[in-house]
């Protein structure tokens, strides 16, 4: 897995590419948390390049959502594929996240 961290204005964007293995899960969580802190919680997680969501990613996403909620913010996911949306739907976790078709629209939601 490769993780890109970019910045669009004051918003941090984290883009993982590929599947997350057990060894990489911690790295993914750390990258997400680092971006979250450096952008004061104004962060977008672009999941458009993650082929499927397994329990490790779901766990990380829920941690992300909880931390955002604790800071009075919502967890914004961009590029949500049908595969990803279905798994959130079937596990009744869709409501935990704010979903956007693209990174641009997610970033704009912070403006």
């Amino acid at each position: 897995m490769k993780i890109n961290r970019t910045r669009v204005g004051s918003v941090g964007v984290v883009t993982p590419h590929g599947t997350v293995t057990a060894a990489e899960a911690d790295e993914f969580v750390a990258a997400l948390e680092m971006t979250r802190q450096s952008s004061n919680g104004r962060v977008v997680l672009d999941v458009g390049h993650v082929p499927y969501v397994d329990s490790r990613i779901l766990e990380a996403l829920l941690d992300f959502a909880e931390r955002q909620r604790a800071a009075g913010l919502t967890a914004k996911l961009a590029g949500v594929t049908d595969t990803c949306r279905e798994i959130l739907d079937v596990t009744d976790l869709l409501g935990e996240f704010e979903l956007f078709d693209s990174v641009d629209s997610a970033v704009r939601s912070y403006l």
Binding site: Y52, S55, L58, E59, T83, I87, D101
Partner: protein, 431 residues
């Protein structure tokens, strides 16, 4: 009801009756911007060829799993051959009725919202042809804003980007056409052509006939698929019967192995149905099975496979899931089936008896077995069960593991059991 060769906009094209048929002089085309090189008598045989080609195509694809993508390719190629249509994209209206998905998946599977010109064409059933003055300024304004969402492969193998729309027509079902308003039936699909030759081989009437024919083909493919699905479906529960489930599941697991994705087999057992049978409560029993099938179809994802394995057992193969997530989903499936079947029992026996007797006997349990691809030495990649005991497993092994797990759940008095126990509690603990 329109016949296959009638124009959808009959009034506008009624002047295009072929010369030989009407015995009158050839009229001026309604849409002067779509002049025809050929007389109707010359392009009509091409439509006959098209019908024969479709018949042959359907024969060749009747066993194909990718019927719709292949149909998309068929239509695109024929439109290129007959009228020189390029940058053709074909969409089906999704389940929500608010989005369009490409038939050919290489274009991407994300649904596009129905807006602008596509919304107009789908809602009214009217066709758009660039340069047709009868559209009026509003439709022309919509068309000016509309771009084909390229890039898209074209007939010569190259790819072109998005651009203006030259021709757009919708496919509608016939079953619910409004008898009072004369409006179209439910929207099924949309054909968008980016480029039509300025001097095409057929005129407006020819394009209308072609669009009507494609509509007929579309509905025929849909009916054919429904029939094929009905043949594969267990009548009691509306999920796949065992034979077809196993055949499809073999493919799914092979694809999962090829793609390196995890896969989970799930067995759902309904205990207590025999008691209903013994008491002559067959109607209630059948309703319970039907409801369980409905819940499984609804709760699982669109590309998950569900089948009826035996009288009181369902099986499913879930792609891209590990054991932990499979367990979470299984818990929700069991809850949903229990809620749904409880309502049926309450309706049949009343709350008191359901709680005291029937509810106590009817149990839903679920067993799971996870498979995943691993690097396997000289033999290459293979499946093996979890925990890793060194034995490779097949689909049959996975299903056997799931069925054993459901039996283990019964022995342990639990609703969900994973074989072997690999699910970490972290995801479940949030529920």
């Amino acid at each position: 009801m329109m016949g296959p060769l009638e124009s959808h906009e009959g009034q506008k094209t009624s002047t295009h009756v072929p010369e030989r048929m009407s015995g009158k002089a050839r009229p001026v085309p309604v849409c002067a911007e779509v002049p025809a090189l050929l007389a109707a008598s010359e392009w009509m045989p091409a439509l006959g060829d098209l019908i024969r080609a479709f018949s042959g195509w359907l024969d060749a694809h009747e066993e194909s799993d990718g019927l719709w993508p292949a149909f998309g390719v068929f239509v695109r190629e024929r439109l290129l051959d007959i009228v020189g249509a390029r940058r053709t994209q074909i969409f089906r209206v999704d389940e929500t009725g608010r989005g369009l998905r490409p038939l050919v998946e290489s274009l991407g599977t994300a649904a596009r919202p129905i807006t602008g010109l596509a919304e107009h064409v789908l809602a009214t059933g009217r066709r758009y042809i660039r340069g047709d003055w009868t559209h009026g300024p509003l439709v022309d304004a919509l068309a000016a804003e509309c771009k084909t969402p390229g890039p898209e492969p074209v007939g010569d193998g190259s790819a072109v980007g998005g651009g203006a729309v030259a021709w757009m027509f919708a496919i509608h079902g016939r079953e619910a056409a409004s008898p009072t308003t004369g409006g179209p039936g439910p929207a099924l699909g949309l054909v968008v052509v980016g480029d039509l030759p300025e001097t095409g081989p057929v005129d407006r009437a020819g394009l209308d006939v072609l669009a009507n024919l494609i509509g007929e083909f579309w509905r025929h493919v849909r009916d054919f698929e429904r029939l094929r699905l009905a043949q594969r479906t267990d009548r009691g529960s509306s999920v796949l019967n065992r034979e077809d489930f196993l055949a499809a599941a073999e493919i799914v697991t092979a694809e999962a192995m090829r793609d390196g994705e995890p896969v989970v087999a799930m067995a759902v057992a309904m205990e207590g149905l025999r008691r209903l049978d013994d008491n002559g409560q067959w109607a209630v029993r059948d309703r319970l099975v039907r409801e369980a099938g409905r819940v499984l179809r609804r709760k699982l994802r669109s590309d998950d496979l569900v089948g009826r394995f035996s009288d009181d057992r369902f099986v499913a193969v879930l792609r891209r899931l590990d054991a932990a997530l499979g367990r979470l989903i299984a818990t929700k499936v069991v809850e949903s089936i229990r809620d749904a079947t409880s309502g049926i029992l309450t309706e049949a026996y009343g709350e008191a008896e359901t709680a005291a007797v029937m509810g106590a006997h009817l149990k839903v349990r679920c067993g799971l077995a996870a498979g995943r691809r691993v690097d396997g030495g000289a033999a290459g990649r293979r499946f093996r069960s979890e925990p890793t005991d060194g034995n490779t497993v097949s689909l049959n092994d996975l299903l056997a593991g799931a069925l054993s797990a459901s039996a283990a759940a019964r022995r342990a008095g639990r609703e969900v059991c994973v074989a072997p126990e690999t699910a970490p509690a972290s995801v479940e603990a949030r529920e």
